[in-house]
Symmetry: C2
Subunit: 260 residues, 2 copies
């Protein structure tokens, strides 16, 4: 797999099934996104949920019912250009597939939400440690005791990702990620995991545990998995999402999402 | 009128009709908002319009159908707590009233959008000129040749507000307003009005002309009037907005809207 191909080339290799793996590290510098597809009836309350919880659910693009070519990637087809999808019925995972062309219909609305890959590139560029990348693991994710603002039928606790750093690095990381407000922005907490309801850092609810070196503290960012938890909670008749780590790769550059 | 009353006190004097004038300069330091109320059927496409055009239409709060107590002002009543409302039918202004309790119904969805009053306070605090305030006028607003991303049936050219400054002040103003990304953020243009389709600065489409001193250039910010133009363009059966300058005063402090 050529890591430096353009987003359009990468999407093409995904569409033709030459590549069906995770997208982490591919087309570096371009924005990758979480995908959620919902029936029209659930679109307004879900959009409200995202608007009310912008840190975990930053909206990059929303399409009209039945549309599948996003504004942030002209020519793309959201039904076929992700390596892997999950299909849920009433909140139950029914199947994992590599195309949803057969079940996507005129009533489905697609949402693209920001993903932490964008700020991880910026952390690396600033010389800060990203332990999950160093160790070749999926980032550690935890369910917290913080509750997102609900939008009936969508509700969820806040899910966070964690990267361990020394205190001075954590401060620099807060500065660096502040710019990326559409890809989760600054950390929501650092230090004591107890304070946000996390019992054991070695047992993340999603992803893999990573090494925490002496002198390091855990730094927590709002995580896009929150949106998937909200979708499951609503038990809607049909919902489609990307499979974890198998994101949509857009034509937007990470820097285009920053406000300064 | 006591200028330094709290937002809750101010809303109370508005609700009891003790005050029915403009809200500029009242409850300084608290976020004031544009109001749009639309029938449920138009709520999703309008929310999409705002999401796609965050500079002119930054979303502060969206309520469920029939709800009128916003999260950003507990205890408030959006049907009565603005000094003046405009009622539109199919895009035509039908009346201007001081309460909409009689026509608001279970099908109406309320949107609160950011307003430039928040960053004007910050400009003043930074020692920068805000000519419309100096001259006791409404800010100059212009229709540009830039087109907002549409969301059928909503479309609009970008409307901008203008404040004249010297070049070094304009640079400082860009820095200061960048923090206020939920109240229009940084300028979208400065210098030549022609470039964005403005023929004559002395003849704004909305508001009043202001003095431009020698050595000053016009500095343009995206303006919330854009959302009202979009509502008119859609010719929906019923739409309610605030009357110009007669905003909703929330309990949020201006500083709570900044990301750094």
């Amino acid at each position: 797999m050529e890591r430096t191909m353009s987003p359009a080339q990468l999407r093409s290799t995904i569409r033709t099934a030459e590549w069906k793996g995770p997208t982490s590290g591919l087309a570096p510098g371009y924005v990758q996104a979480n995908l959620v597809m919902l029936p029209r009836e659930e679109a307004f309350p879900f959009l409200l949920f995202c608007v009310r919880n912008p840190r975990p659910c930053p909206i990059l693009d929303v399409l009209e019912p039945g549309q599948y070519e996003p504004r942030i990637a002209p020519g793309a087809d959201l039904r076929r250009d992700l390596p892997k999808y999950r299909i849920y019925e009433k909140g139950i995972l029914k199947s994992e597939v590599d195309s949803v062309s057969d079940i996507f219909n005129e009533e489905m609305v697609s949402f693209l939400l920001g993903c932490s890959f964008s700020f991880e590139n910026a952390l690396l560029a600033a010389g800060l440690p990203v332990r999950n990348i160093e160790e070749g693991k999926n980032v550690s994710m935890y369910v917290t005791n913080r509750v997102c603002a609900p939008s009936d039928p969508f509700s969820s606790p806040l899910v966070v990702s964690m990267r361990p750093m020394k205190p001075d690095q954590a401060i620099r990381a807060a500065q660096v990620t502040t710019r990326f407000y559409l890809t989760h922005g600054a950390p929501i907490h650092f230090g004591s995991p107890d304070e946000i309801g996390i019992r054991n850092l070695a047992e993340p609810e999603f992803g893999d545990p990573v090494t925490i070196h002496p002198g390091e503290i855990p730094v927590f960012w709002a995580c896009g998995v929150t949106s998937q938890a909200a979708v499951l909670s609503a038990r809607v008749p049909l919902a489609i999402t990307h499979s974890p780590g198998h994101m949509f790769v857009s034509d937007l550059r990470d820097e285009e999402l920053t406000i300064l």
